[in-house]
Symmetry: C2
Subunit: 362 residues, 2 copies
């Protein structure tokens, strides 16, 4: 079934397909509930208060964010009824400098705040927030990004104890799930790292009521006995990467960029008016190109510039002037490029959702 977009849409336009979004939210909530895991979706994917509300309504226990600024933007509507969210985890090794202590303190007046930490030095800077925030120790499970090795988790927790900070547990991001066929191994690595960290922390006298993991590719391969909580983000909207990883079908892609065929200079290619400034430039080596056209699954986006996507085409395909739907490779960076999302149902515009936490990078 082709994606139905509102007629006469100026392009490029970033569109959320409302029913698909709701279906994605419901499915992940059901999965988490059946696995006995708390669901704390990562809101960096969508940055929208309206989607936070829907995630909580579907059963999420709180949200994850990447920055204090995202926490601020997504709780700003708190005076409203109902509040969008009252429990936020900044899933990042926060380095509290340049006003961050004051901003975190203000947040704790309104919502429960947990933050990540992966160094004693980082923890010490959070000391002014003793009694007001919870800490989760970040461990690495194979991505080789932030996070200490599980055996080093106690050193971070002990620094927290010295600073008077409450250690609630441990978290990891199995982001090495972002390769074809890697999800099961990443989930196994995640389980092993969380178990090892929990054991090391217990030996040092720290309980770990929270053991948090999850990424969209690996979520359904999680080991529920090793985790208490899942933090997937992308699942709400999905993208071309998830389709090419086999995690989602085109019918699960709930965010597309409407684009016009503006040039057809030769038989072998056409050019869309959606480039890296609306799709994002993410292009891992294992992807087939710079995004996909759900209604033209054979087509490949072989070149991307700021305002041009070149679609290689030698068969039937869209014609000059046609408007097509493009699934970005990475929905999190695509959302961050626009001030609002156009919410569409059955080919009609329902409403517009501000990207409240857009560019909230600090």
């Amino acid at each position: 079934v082709p994606i139905r977009l509102p007629a006469g849409l100026p392009t490029p336009a970033t569109v959320v397909l409302a029913e698909r979004l709701q279906r994605n939210l419901t499915a992940m909530s059901r999965f988490a509930a059946e696995a006995g895991l708390a669901l704390r979706p990562h809101a960096k994917t969508h940055k929208c208060v309206e989607i936070v509300r829907r995630q909580l309504a579907a059963g999420a226990t709180g949200i994850s964010v990447a920055t204090v600024g995202e926490a601020e933007a997504l709780t700003a509507a708190l005076e409203s009824d109902p509040p969008p969210v009252d429990d936020v985890f900044v899933a990042y090794p926060v380095w509290a400098d340049h006003g961050l202590i004051g901003r975190l303190a203000r947040l704790t007046e309104r919502v429960r705040i947990s933050v990540g930490a992966d160094s004693a030095a980082g923890v010490e800077r959070l000391a002014p927030l003793a009694g007001r925030i919870r800490l989760l120790v970040e461990v690495d499970c194979g991505l080789r990004r932030s996070g200490v090795a599980p055996a080093q988790a106690p050193a971070v927790a002990q620094a927290a104890e010295r600073a008077g900070l409450d250690v609630a547990g441990v978290f990891t991001f199995p982001g090495h799930s972002y390769r074809p066929g890697a999800a099961e191994q990443a989930a196994a690595d995640e389980a092993r790292a969380l178990r090892a960290a929990a054991e090391a922390l217990l030996s040092a006298g720290f309980e770990t009521p929270v053991r948090s993991g999850g990424s969209t590719p690996s979520a359904r391969s999680s080991h529920p006995d090793a985790l208490t909580e899942l933090r997937p983000g992308v699942y709400a909207l999905n993208d071309a990467q998830q389709v090419e990883l086999g995690v989602a079908r085109f019918a699960d892609v709930a965010l597309v960029v409407a684009a016009t065929v503006v040039s057809r200079p030769a038989d072998d290619r056409l050019v869309l008016d959606a480039g890296s400034k609306v799709l994002g430039a993410d292009r891992p080596a294992w992807t087939s190109g710079y995004g996909r056209l759900p209604d033209w699954p054979e087509a490949r986006i072989t070149g991307l510039w700021e305002h041009h996507a070149v679609v290689a085409s030698d068969g039937p395909g869209p014609e000059l002037g046609d408007v097509v739907a493009v699934a970005p490779n990475h929905v999190c960076t695509a959302v961050n490029l626009v001030p609002e999302l156009l919410v569409v149902s059955d080919g009609e515009e329902l409403e517009r959702w501000p990207v409240a936490a857009r560019a909230a990078n600090r």
Copy 2:
């Protein structure tokens, strides 16, 4: 000489180094003047009225933009004195639909507008603007993006004539200059395509007073006898790509992202709080990584996520908590990610420039 950033800067922060910007503007203006070429900088790089003013003051004859929205944003201050710009070329195969004719007509009341075209169908849609805009035919010189083959330029021009539109000439983008060692060949291709198109157009009765080309990597290899005008953009600010192409030195990079070392989880790497949502995700295969650290030229950014840059390091390097300057791979996408640029001179904040045309994608 290390880059001097204001003390206590919340990170990540996107910073323009004022003296370097001015030096870059002056150098390209001087080059163009000596080559006898008009300089029409591409403003999609910086999207700032303040930089447009400086480019014009340095001798530019007008600006290039990629979208009608950029033209609107950058001329919006026209009532001001002096006007920021009065001659704008939308260097794109404009497909005039969904309100675009009205928007272009309003622009022509205030500034001279030229637009690109590479199809008869695209030209026909511009007919309501006959007598108000100038057309430049886009030809491809090897990038294989938009633009017809030079021999097909007359067909586009004839469509323009039928629609009563003024054809001012021809343009091309030698973007295949974006590979190490490719600039000279791209400039030669550009010259050949512009000459061939001009000859074909002349045979069909069309003069080409404007023959426009240029990209930052190829600009200084341009063939002045084949061109009348250069449209480089990146040169104003430069980026890691230009350094790795050998087009700029680190000392010419006038935009950096200030980032804090937030994690040092192992001896082989450190993590910065600048990711793809502030640096952009551009990562051509020929680059060494996801950007560079001008003050640590041996360092490589081997991994990039939305809020993490992983810097591989086995020698001396920045420490946990240090603030470092990062040169993004592609400055045009980095600028588009933030609402304002912090202008710094000699380690002090001078002012803030709004990214006026941010997300002006249509």
